[in-house]
């Protein structure tokens, strides 16, 4: 694949997740005229989270489509376009608004390939922002990963840094099924959403590359306890691991990276080694991703655990607007540290 422009002497680049994801989208759109992007504020504004900056100029209004505030409408348009042979990318800036898209996603995009006996594919990628921690209250701070993960027919990836963001976006765009690429708002790399989380920015190669679905990633090796997370909780877990190291506790940080299909082998390999597990997730605790991780352990080898598992997640409350209340409810490094210490005291 020819480089689009001469590289700057081969110097390595540190990119934000928004820029890295966009690089993959642009590369794929240049190759395949069937790919188009549709969503709110993506053409003129370049996306609320900077996901499509500059793309309307390059690809035009037919391929970078601004919509009214009408998620039901444009997810239906995209689903139908995908069934007719196009490869749409739908941007939903806030996952909270997925509720008005459930019919198109759950009953059409996720099921049409199966129900048509393979006659119709739905090669649609959704690009979704999620998460809280910046006082945007209950209807603008949710994760809803557990909700989306629950229905068969959907692949969901949650890159936690810019390197993974680009590789997973290439994989999503080349896949012929419904794929959802989700980024926690605090790690897009936008100054107005809070202080930069340095561990979310990463060296990103200029060339194209893919990262397969269903492969977790160990960010930090350890021997005493496994800290499982995804998205923002990878970064909380990394901070927690540093604090635990100061107490002489060696924590392994496992990034699920793909929620569906989940890398259950990686979970078991790590937990078998350490014997202790903390699962951190900003989503609601009940019936969600944390439960799925623990179900995996319980089914495959409950004896791997030397102590009860501990989950750190939203304690099943609407995300508060008040800053101290929101900070109380959502996971953070200190809560993960406390959970890890609890597994070692059991």
């Amino acid at each position: 694949m020819a480089q689009e422009a001469p590289s700057s002497g081969g110097s390595s680049r540190t990119l934000t997740m928004a820029r890295a994801g966009r690089e993959a989208v642009i590369a794929e759109m240049r190759k395949d005229p069937n790919i188009f992007v549709i969503g709110e504020d993506i053409a003129k504004l370049g996306g609320v989270f900077g996901t499509t900056v500059g793309m309307a100029d390059e690809f035009g209004a037919q391929r970078v489509v601004d919509t009214p505030i009408s998620e039901t409408g444009f997810i239906g348009i995209a689903t139908g376009a995908a069934m007719a042979g196009m490869r749409p990318i739908v941007e939903i800036a806030f996952v909270d608004f997925i509720g008005v898209c459930f019919n198109a996603i759950f009953n059409f995009a996720a099921k049409t390939h199966y129900m048509s006996g393979g006659q119709f594919k739905v090669p649609m990628t959704m690009m979704i922002g999620y998460g809280g921690g910046y006082n945007d209250a209950a209807q603008h701070s949710q994760c809803l990963i557990g909700t989306l993960a629950h229905v068969p027919g959907i692949r969901i990836v949650t890159p936690a840094d810019a390197h993974d963001a680009k590789g997973l976006m290439h994989t999503c765009l080349r896949d012929d099924n419904l794929t959802i690429w989700m980024v926690h708002k605090a790690i897009w790399g936008l100054g107005w959403l809070g202080t930069a989380i340095k561990t979310a920015m990463a060296t990103v190669p200029e060339e194209e590359y893919t990262i397969p679905f269903g492969k977790a990633r160990i960010w930090r090796e350890g021997t005493d306890v496994t800290l499982v997370g995804y998205g923002i909780t990878v970064h909380h877990s990394l901070q927690a691991a540093e604090k635990l190291a100061a107490e002489g506790i060696s924590a392994e940080v496992l990034d699920l990276r793909t929620i569906v299909p989940m890398d259950r082998d990686a979970i078991m390999k790590s937990v078998t080694k350490t014997g202790r597990v903390v699962v951190a997730d900003e989503d609601y605790m009940n019936c969600g991703v944390t439960a799925e991780v623990l179900a995996t352990i319980a089914e495959r080898n409950p004896k791997a655990l030397k102590a009860p598992a501990v989950r750190v997640a939203n304690p099943d409350v609407p995300v508060p607007f008040s800053r101290p209340m929101e900070n109380f409810a959502l996971p953070d490094a200190d809560k993960i540290v406390a959970a890890a210490i609890a597994t070692l005291k059991s």
């Binding site: 700057s8 002497g9 390595s12 540190t14 990119l15 934000t16 820029r19 936008l190 107005w192 930069a196």
Partner: protein, 78 residues
Amino acid sequence: MIDITVPQDLWDTEDEGVIFVWIYADGALVEQGKLIAELTVEKAQLELTAPASGRLKILAPAETIVRKGTVIGRIEPP
């Protein structure tokens, strides 16, 4: 050698901005016109490009608060 100055036309107001990220490391070879840093001003993420080709010298690290006209680095001979 040429200074990397926050351009006067990078944003409209007189608000302060902050350097969000340097794309390249101190000492890296960079190319004129290519993106070398991102700045945050109010709710916008802005792009800063290299004024010349050469070796990047970072004077103001990420998280430094800047104004239009602030010198934040230099391009030195390769």
